[in-house]
């Protein structure tokens, strides 16, 4: 039983470390900002998940206590990862349009406009009483 638990913990730790490594490698090898964002937002989520699961199994089998902190860590990760990715993407959009510092547009090129008229909220103040605005009555 003890050996089985050790094997599970070892496999999960290695899986987690492997995914974290792949995510970081993606950050290095993908061509431009938007493509690079995919590495750390995805591959590392499962990497961290596997590490946290390994932690739960380890504390339960080796020390005999249930820990719940891992659940909280994943909850906070799910809350913060999309927001930081969104902020980086917004800064990238600005730099692309203003032509700052030779920002390469990446494989997808510059972003299209939304619909027939209007622009993205990064470039244009959101209209009142729309879901994009925080200043609703």
């Amino acid at each position: 039983m003890k050996t089985l638990a050790e094997i599970v913990v070892a496999v999960l730790s290695l899986l987690g470390a492997g995914f974290a490594l792949i995510g970081s490698w993606g950050l290095v090898r993908l061509p431009a900002t938007m493509e690079r964002l995919h590495g750390p937002t995805k591959a590392t989520t499962l990497g961290l998940g596997a590490l946290l699961l390994a932690s739960v199994v380890y504390f339960r089998t080796q020390l005999g206590v249930w820990t719940a902190h891992e659940l909280l860590i994943s909850l906070f990760l799910f809350l913060t990862a999309p927001i930081s990715a969104n902020m980086i993407a917004k800064v990238h959009l600005h730099r692309l349009r203003s032509g700052a510092a030779n920002e390469p547009p990446g494989i997808a090129g510059p972003p299209p406009r939304p619909g027939e008229e209007g622009d993205w909220a990064t470039f244009e103040a959101p209209a009142r009483d729309t879901p994009a605005s925080t200043a609703n009555s």
């Binding site: 993908l30 061509p31 938007m34 799910f78 494989i107 997808a108 299209p112 939304p114 879901p131």
Partner: protein, 162 residues
């Protein structure tokens, strides 16, 4: 009841998070967590003046299960792309996703889900709140990808925020 607990879901969430943080269920922890669950929603009330009604039933549980499943699948897909696909063969595309959801909270949840799942990151929302700008790492057929996002996530969110 309304006056005491203006936001029952937030109160429940705060209590659960507090107990998880303490990592044990004791009387002291319950009392302190209960106080926080009562006081914090009261003081943060001005931040959510028009909060939408949410259903935390089967639809919500189903949504969570699907998103978690997709996150695991997405990780393997993106890992395979990073390891085995050459940059020249990567079909990265911008997607403009028209959204039918109307509440800011629902749109935020859709955007967060898109960022966490298969090879897509939400970059921006349009100024009129009717489109999301999404970057896909490898989309052979952008129209099909948009349809998938709408059918898989948005339709379910519409049922949760009804």
């Amino acid at each position: 009841m309304r006056r005491l607990l203006p936001h029952p879901a937030l109160s429940a969430m705060l209590l659960i998070v507090w107990l998880l943080m303490a990592n044990s269920v004791t009387v002291g922890g319950l009392v302190l967590g209960g106080c926080l669950a009562l006081v914090l929603p009261k003081f943060t009330e001005p931040f959510w003046p028009a909060r939408p009604r949410m259903r935390f039933g089967r639809a919500f549980a189903g949504y969570l299960a699907i998103v978690l499943f997709d996150i695991v699948v997405a990780n393997f897909q993106v890992a395979a792309l990073i390891l085995f696909r050459r940059n020249a063969d990567l079909r990265a595309r911008w997607l403009v996703v028209p959204i039918a959801l109307t509440s800011p909270e629902a749109i935020t949840m859709l955007a967060g889900t898109i960022s966490l799942t298969p090879g897509t990151v939400t970059a921006d929302v349009s100024a009129d709140g009717r489109f999301l700008l999404v970057h896909a790492l490898d989309a052979a057929d952008p129209a099909a990808e948009v349809a998938r996002i709408k059918a898989r996530y948005e339709a379910r969110l519409q049922r949760i925020f009804a």
